[in-house]
Amino acid sequence: MRPQYDLAALAGLASIAAALTVLSGYAIGTEKDLDAISLHMAAAFLITLLALAAMRYLTRVETGGHYNVRPKHEHERSLLPPSDRQNGAGSSPVLLRRLGEELAACNPIIHTLCDHVQNVVQNTEDVAIDIMTRLNRVDQAITELIDFLRASSHDKILPVIEQTEHRLHTILSDFLTNRTEAIFESRSHLGGIADSVQRLDAIVQSIRKVARQTNMLALNATIEAARAGVAGRGFAVVASEVKALARQTDQAAKDIGEGLHALKDAIGESMEALVERQGREQRKDLDTMFSAIGELEQNMKTVTEQQQETLVKMREESEKIAHLVIDLIGSIQFQDVARQKLNGVTGVLHQIVAHSASLADIVGSDHLGGENIEGVLAAVEMQRRQAMESSKISHVAGANSNIIDLF
């Protein structure tokens, strides 16, 4: 800054810096926003630059340790204490003292700012841990669901199907056994009837044999009655009647035999009809059963396939959700990144506080001699550079991500 610069310009800059500081402090208190932090840092740096400019100006125009520069404008006069304003004049030591006071006033604000930042960091960490805890619970629930679905598809459904099929085969086998036994029983009963008929036929033949012999005896009796003449007439009548009875007996036995033959044929036909009918009915029943079983198996297959499809879909979707949860758990790292960036900002702010405190001490000193100013300026400049470098490092660290470097 050239010597001819008026202190009024410096005072104006100080006013702007102070206003920025106050405004940003208010914004931080209400919004807790990073933009407010940037505003605040800008104000602090502006104050620093202002102080440096003021000191350099003083080193150029120094005239034995006292400076007489009168403010040109009214707003510059407002920076002066009332006593100086009443005198109608300002002096550079007064302005410098006021500048030092402004610098010192910045420090509590910046400390408050740092406290706010640390509170924000702590709050976000608490929330992040809470989110992590909940995400872990979600992940655990999804893992259990996936395990259940995986077990359901193999260990639970298939045994039920196999058990059902086994039960159906047992029922069918029992049905066939019962049916066969029933047919054998019916045939056995009919066979017994046929045997009885056969035995009756033999009896009929015996009766017919007896009838034929009786007829022969009646014929012989008739011949003998004829030989006896008149005395044998009555016996001839008896012999004739016996002959007639023998003929009738033979005819009756013949009729019975024919009836038995007819009955035997009928029983044989009934047996075949019975077996055929039962077989037909059995085939019909079996067809119905096989059809029902086939339909049942098809339904079970369809249900199983649909269930399997549902289970697979649920498992796939659950695995996708599980992967998303892991991604979310990974995203929580942003809180740590933000924490470290904010810690970096806090560190820079602390450097600024130390820096401005040094400046305030220097400009507020009554023994500010020109011989020491260059050394003090060099130290202050070093502090400023360190603060700038820290700020730069913090910024660069946040700007890079997804860097993986294996040595």
Binding site: I326, G330, I332, Q340, S401, I403, D405, F407
Partner: protein, 124 residues
């Protein structure tokens, strides 16, 4: 047998995040809140197959931790990866000289992290 990975970080958020990611992948996880705790754990008999450490934490930083770990018997060749928000080349070179195996800038994608672990730890 599951491979064990030790995570060293002063952030509870990072520890929980890494534990969630690694345990889900079937890895055993050992956690340490700072470098001193990690060293004590190693000296106490913990035998991790790999270490993932933060850079800036407490009194001893991650690079100093690596130097100390490399001095311990049996840990000359254990993979140690820095997981940090910083990315300056100078710091990376410093970590490499100290014995770091790799440098990862936070935040890292879970899949990428697991890929690095499987690359450095056979059978993980």
């Amino acid at each position: 047998m599951a491979k064990k990975v030790m995570i060293v970080d002063d952030s509870q958020t990072m520890l929980m995040s890494m534990e969630g990611i690694l345990s889900k992948a079937g890895l055993d996880v050992a956690k340490a809140n700072n470098a001193e705790e990690a060293l004590a754990s190693l000296k106490g008999g913990a035998k991790p197959d790999m270490m993932i450490t933060d850079l800036n934490m407490g009194a001893m930083n991650g690079i100093q931790l690596i130097r100390e770990v490399r001095r311990l018997p049996g840990y000359q060749f254990m993979p140690i990866v820095m997981l940090t928000t910083e990315s300056q080349q100078a710091r990376r070179e410093e970590a490499k000289s100290a014995g770091a195996t790799g440098w990862i800038v936070k935040p890292v994608q879970p899949d990428s992290m697991l890929q690095v672990i499987r690359q450095l730890v056979p059978g993980a």
